[in-house]
Amino acid sequence: MADPIITATGLTKSFGPTQALRGIDLSVERGEVLAVMGPSGSGKSTLVHCLAGVISPDSGSVVLDGTDLTALSPDQRAKVRLQRIGFVFQFGQLLPDLTATDNVALPLLMAGRSRRAANTQAIAWLDRLGLGDHADKSPGSMSGGQAQRVAIARALVTRPAVLFADEPTGSLDSVSSESVLGAMLEVVREAGTTVVLITHDARTAAYADREVIVRDGLLSGAYAPVPA
């Protein structure tokens, strides 16, 4: 039954004297939406950066969609990220002066697709995220919620196997946050995309299928069983 798309084993990572990860085992099922929760500084971003091959753990391994990321060179990891992984951050990943369409088309152009094909795809994804009427606007002239929808369209346009989202609605008010999350979840569930969603917000985590809690670089495990 189990069909993990990510299997991480024994991940550790230090930055100087700081042990950001102290031995994490985690597996994520294909098509699952997983929330990663935990206090600030507990290691959530470091964990997700390891899972996504942005950084390499000091020890342990990450197998993503059949590829052992920890066995790859930085260049090879960059290629895997481009082809199989999408990212959404709290803000700052869009080019504010390009149109929404150009922003979303960019990853396809970088992958060598024609301008025409890229634009067609970009517009289709913007439409799915409820931005059909805003394709020619620039993110700089949009509301925060609309801009995050553009960022989500851009992350999904390459049809990644896994979407990593780090506090994607962290800068939005609760009404826009809800509508952005609702739209994102609808499209990822339809596309069968696996999502790893970092959030400290319970409402956001409630959109996921499951949550894990990171505490001091470890996953908060099951409580010790009740003594017999």
Binding site: A202, A206, S220
Partner: protein
């Protein structure tokens, strides 16, 4: 809060007399309401009857205060399963969870893990509500939002409690 389980928890730290138990209870849980000796002794005899505690000797003299009590294995099992059982979101949650957290600190158990169990239980309920909300008419959604906010308030309190565990541990030790 279930006062008899709170007493059982306090007794698990080591054998106790009734009067010790009252002063420890009042120091830790007595802010809202202290406990009467009568209730202590009634609870002790009920717990003896139920096999949760046993009398372990009597000092010279007479009167109930001369007796010492210890928690039995059955008592420990009962306590451990209560501590590990998440509370359903409700107005009594705060006092129950507060008692469990304090007792976990008293007993040097993993208070963080206990709060995480409650977090998972709350999130599971929020997930159900969030799913129900997606297809619901507007007025129902408002009612669901209300329920979600209540659970969120509990979770914030849990976050705050867990951020303060180190200080709470010191405080509890002072009363130990």
């Amino acid at each position: 809060m279930d006062r008899s389980l709170a007493l059982l928890g306090l007794m698990s730290a080591g054998p106790t007399h009734g009067y010790d138990l009252k002063s420890r209870y009042d120091a830790i849980f007595g802010a809202a309401r202290t406990i009467a000796y009568g209730q202590i002794y009634a609870t002790l005899s009920r717990m003896i009857r139920d096999g949760l505690i046993e009398q372990i000797g009597q000092e010279p003299g007479s009167g109930p205060d001369r007796k010492r009590y210890a928690v039995t294995d059955a008592g420990r099992t009962r306590l451990a399963s209560w501590l590990r059982e998440p509370d359903t979101p409700s107005p009594t949650l705060q006092s129950n969870l507060f008692a469990k957290t304090i007792l976990a600190l008293v007993l040097d158990d993993d208070a963080d893990a206990l709060l995480d169990i409650q977090r998972h239980a709350h999130l599971a309920r929020m997930r159900e509500l969030t799913t129900a909300k997606a297809g619901a008419p507007l007025l129902d959604r408002l009612a669901i939002d209300y329920a979600l906010f209540q659970i969120e308030a509990d979770l914030r309190w849990i976050d705050l409690t867990s951020a303060r565990l180190t200080d709470m541990r010191k405080e509890v030790r002072r009363h130990g």
